[in-house]
Symmetry: C2
Subunit: 218 residues, 2 copies
């Protein structure tokens, strides 16, 4: 597929949302959808939708809308679903455990290979079928297995150190839940951080606006 | 403070990041910072920073940069920190428990009042000092206490139902971790969803790009 060269971060950030909404539409049995209907369900304008998808070579037919399954497949391909990405989890505290047990990695093309921890209570056991090894074995595991992403759910004090070890052992990406902005020792490793506080502060802003709208618009 | 009327969603989404970076700078003892240095640490251009902050009335002095503590305070005020927002948690499984135990609500001006669950094993106990009540008591608790936000960490099957109950009982915002797009029965209630899959898919896109950059730029 031919794609235009400049893709903004904002569009990239919207692509996973497209994928999610298209998956939900598909599950609901919707076969074809117009850009205005897709936009409405996503809180975007029809013209925004057309512009976004045009960035990736323009699917859809004027006046006919988009075929849901085809569009989902195309967006999924752009996102790298289907590349067989693999992942390991560092840290099996409550958060790590919650994600291992509940997150459907396979639904977005990821395979969770293993988890690592230092607690004797969990090393050697399994969570939802996933083996937990001692953190000392991280480098040897990464040497023996192709691992694309390391998920960091370690305590904040261990965040930078474990991020360094992941990067130096050859992962391509770090999915960081530690609420610490790790600096990556390698330029070719991408760090994606999930900051819960950013989300709650955005909500705080929105409810503050509704409480006292005049404050912002004086 | 005088503020301009139109503030885009993108700017609003960046404000919590400003607050986070400014907090880190303050902790590191930085007193004053230029827009270019602030931009570098946030991955934004100096002109982007100046534009963003201008939306909110323009802090800073030409050639002198920004005073970190003052700017942090101003951004915090815009975000509603200091309004004494309160919050309850619905669902104390691994994810709910992880957030109750580790998230520093008070650092962004939130007070966590209570949690709710249906499991007899946890109802009546406390997590990190937070009392856990039976979900049946949700409405009476919300009638007796001013609660601004309900955090949803219930199983997906209960997501919509518990979201409805929160909205109908008078919260102003729902912080949704259920990975289900709840539809809100009240227009005056804001829903902010945290979708882990969006973040992992963005990472998937970025590492796919680095694997085969020519695919996107043909």
């Amino acid at each position: 597929m031919k794609r235009n060269t400049k893709v903004s971060t904002a569009v990239i950030r919207r692509l996973p949302r497209y994928y999610r909404h298209l998956s939900e539409l598909q599950e609901a049995g919707v076969v074809r959808i117009s850009s205005s209907a897709l936009g409405k369900s996503m809180g975007l304008t029809a013209s925004q939708i057309r512009q976004d998808l045009f960035c990736f070579g323009g699917f859809g037919q004027q006046g006919y809308g988009y075929k849901v399954d085809l569009l989902k497949e195309e967006v999924g391909e752009i996102l790298g679903i289907g590349r067989g990405h693999t992942l390991v989890v560092l840290g099996t505290g409550n958060l790590g455990r919650a994600i291992i047990q509940n997150f459907r990695f396979s639904s977005i093309g990821f395979q969770l290979l293993a988890a690592f921890d230092i607690s004797p209570a969990v090393v050697g056991t399994r969570i939802a079928g996933v083996p937990i090894y001692h953190a000392d074995q991280l480098e040897s595991f990464l040497a023996a297995n192709r691992v694309d992403v390391g998920m960091l759910t370690v305590p904040i004090a261990a965040a930078q150190r474990m991020g360094d070890r992941l990067a130096n052992a050859g992962v391509k990406g770090i999915w960081n839940f530690t609420n610490y902005e790790i600096t990556c020792p390698r330029e070719d490793v991408v760090v994606e951080s999930v900051h819960f506080s950013d989300s709650l502060l955005a909500l705080s802003y929105m409810i503050s606006q509704r409480e006292n709208p005049e404050e912002e618009y004086q």
